[in-house]
């Protein structure tokens, strides 16, 4: 799901996406409040695991393969802001050493692969995971987060870069399917990690109390995702008027 250099060339869009990505990272730096050693050790080690896991591409549908994103696991273990920082570090390493993703679209990738999935998983956990329903929160949050991230990426490709409209449905569909599988894998990983270290997920519990805005954000995200299949391909009113004026 990485956007590469040179695909989006509309300069204001590039500036806006990179500013959004930089803003998210700056805010995440401010919000990461754990001690330095704790933060860096866990984020660095789990980030390396996610980087390795992203290398495993599996065929999903004919003509397309997918890999896990890892934002769900990181969010549940590290909390949303450290998870965003760690995902940003993963994206930087991929862009610099592998040209997977790109330097000019790093901000876009931070928004679609780090911020949206991490915050969606966090919102889902806040809304659902009271007590032991962490697996359910992982599955739903990862699936929803992947679909929303893909929807934003597809919107950029279709409405700004000029990709055909079917790209939107294709990308969102494939990533949603991948998200469901990743969600189940994340739930399995969470249960394994809980067996190994029962206190591991308590570190982020204090931040999992849902502020009302997060619940509303989650509800909004679900509604947007539900409306995507009903999007009309007909021109809007302004486009109709402009077309008639042209005649």
């Amino acid at each position: 799901m990485h956007l590469a250099d040179g695909i989006v060339s509309h300069f204001p869009t590039l500036v806006a996406l990179n500013a959004a990505g930089a803003g998210v990272v700056a805010y995440a730096v401010r919000r990461s409040t754990e001690t330095e050693a704790q933060q860096i050790a866990w984020a660095g080690t789990l980030g390396a695991f996610v980087l390795a896991a992203q290398a495993v591409n599996v065929p999903l549908v004919p003509g397309a393969s997918a890999h896990v994103i890892g934002a769900g696991l990181l969010t549940l273990v590290l909390g949303p802001w450290r998870a965003i920082l760690t995902m940003a570090a993963v994206l930087i390493i991929q862009a610099v050493f592998l040209a997977d993703g790109g330097l000019t679209v790093l901000g876009a990738n931070v928004v679609t692969i780090a911020a949206i999935p991490c915050l969606t998983v966090h919102a889902t956990r806040s809304a659902l995971a009271r007590g032991t329903r962490l697996g359910l929160a992982a599955t739903v949050g990862v699936a929803l987060g992947n679909a929303l991230g893909a929807a934003v990426l597809a919107a950029v490709l279709v409405y700004i870069s000029g990709a055909p409209r079917w790209t939107f449905g294709w990308l969102v569909g494939v990533q949603s399917a991948a998200g469901v599988i990743e969600g189940l894998l994340t739930a399995t990983a969470v249960s394994r990690l809980r067996r190994y270290s029962p206190t591991l997920f308590e570190r982020t519990t204090s931040s999992s109390v849902a502020p009302p805005v997060m619940r509303w954000a989650l509800l909004g995200a679900v509604l947007v995702a539900a409306c995507i299949p009903f999007a009309s391909e007909l021109p809007d009113a302004l486009e109709v008027v402009v077309t008639r004026l042209d005649r």
Binding site: A4, A26, D100
Partner: protein, 230 residues
């Protein structure tokens, strides 16, 4: 993903550019040139200008051909997947031009990647002003990645000796995850005992600033010329 990209064996510290600049300078040069190429107008002149910028980077760095081409082949798969749909909306030639531009940008980034040792990335990021929290995570990640690769290889070998196939599956990933958690606990203790977890920065030199400014000027000049011709 190419695991050898992270073991440092592909780095070219003997290149002309590596001798006169340090890692943060080269990183800034890379960013300037890649922005220049990725935002070039899609035209014959734009493609030619992008190719010239890439050519200049390739001559200055002279990356080892085999690892460079291996990584470029991987990057080109991503480019083809992204550019493919444009064939149906903008036509073959425009899609090809877009793909060519994306590939040249990726190739330029990979040229510069060949001048960086994995352990240099974190300090280099810190040197260009990236927050310490982020650059330290990058440094730890690069060190842990090598160990993770070794553990993964040992795990696969052990499975093979027990008669299983050498494929990476969810069980292998789960084992690696638990081992990663154990390592994170040990590392957390070690960093706490050491007193500081922050990565040092590689300071930028005058040569770095000159090189970065030259690359930025080259990118801007190319853009202006191409847009004038366009």
């Amino acid at each position: 993903m190419n695991a050898r990209a992270f073991d440092g064996t592909n780095a070219r510290p003997d290149s002309w550019l590596s001798r006169i600049t340090t890692a943060p300078g080269r990183l800034l040069c890379c960013i300037a040139l890649v922005i220049g190429i990725a935002t070039c107008p899609l035209s014959g002149a734009g493609t030619l200008a992008s190719a010239i910028l890439f050519g200049a980077a390739a001559i200055a760095i002279a990356p080892a051909p085999r690892p460079f081409l291996r990584r470029l082949a991987y990057a080109s798969l991503v480019v083809v997947a992204l550019v493919g749909p444009f064939y149906f909306s903008v036509g073959a030639s425009a899609a090809l031009a877009r793909g060519g531009r994306a590939l040249l940008a990726s190739a330029t980034a990979l040229c510069f990647a060949a001048t960086l040792k994995p352990t240099e990335l974190g300090p280099a990021m810190r040197g260009i002003g990236v927050p310490a929290k982020l650059s330290s995570i990058i440094s730890v990640m690069m060190r842990q990645l090598t160990q993770l690769g070794e553990e993964g290889r040992r795990l696969l070998l052990a499975r093979k000796l027990r008669g299983a196939t050498g494929m990476i599956g969810p069980d292998v990933l789960a084992s690696l995850l638990v081992r990663s958690s154990r390592r994170a606990e040990k590392l957390e203790l070690a960093l706490t005992l050491r007193g500081s977890a922050a990565t040092g920065a590689i300071a930028m030199t005058a040569a770095d600033r000159a090189a970065a400014a030259s690359c930025a000027l080259a990118a801007i000049a190319t853009q202006l010329i191409v847009r004038a011709v366009h």
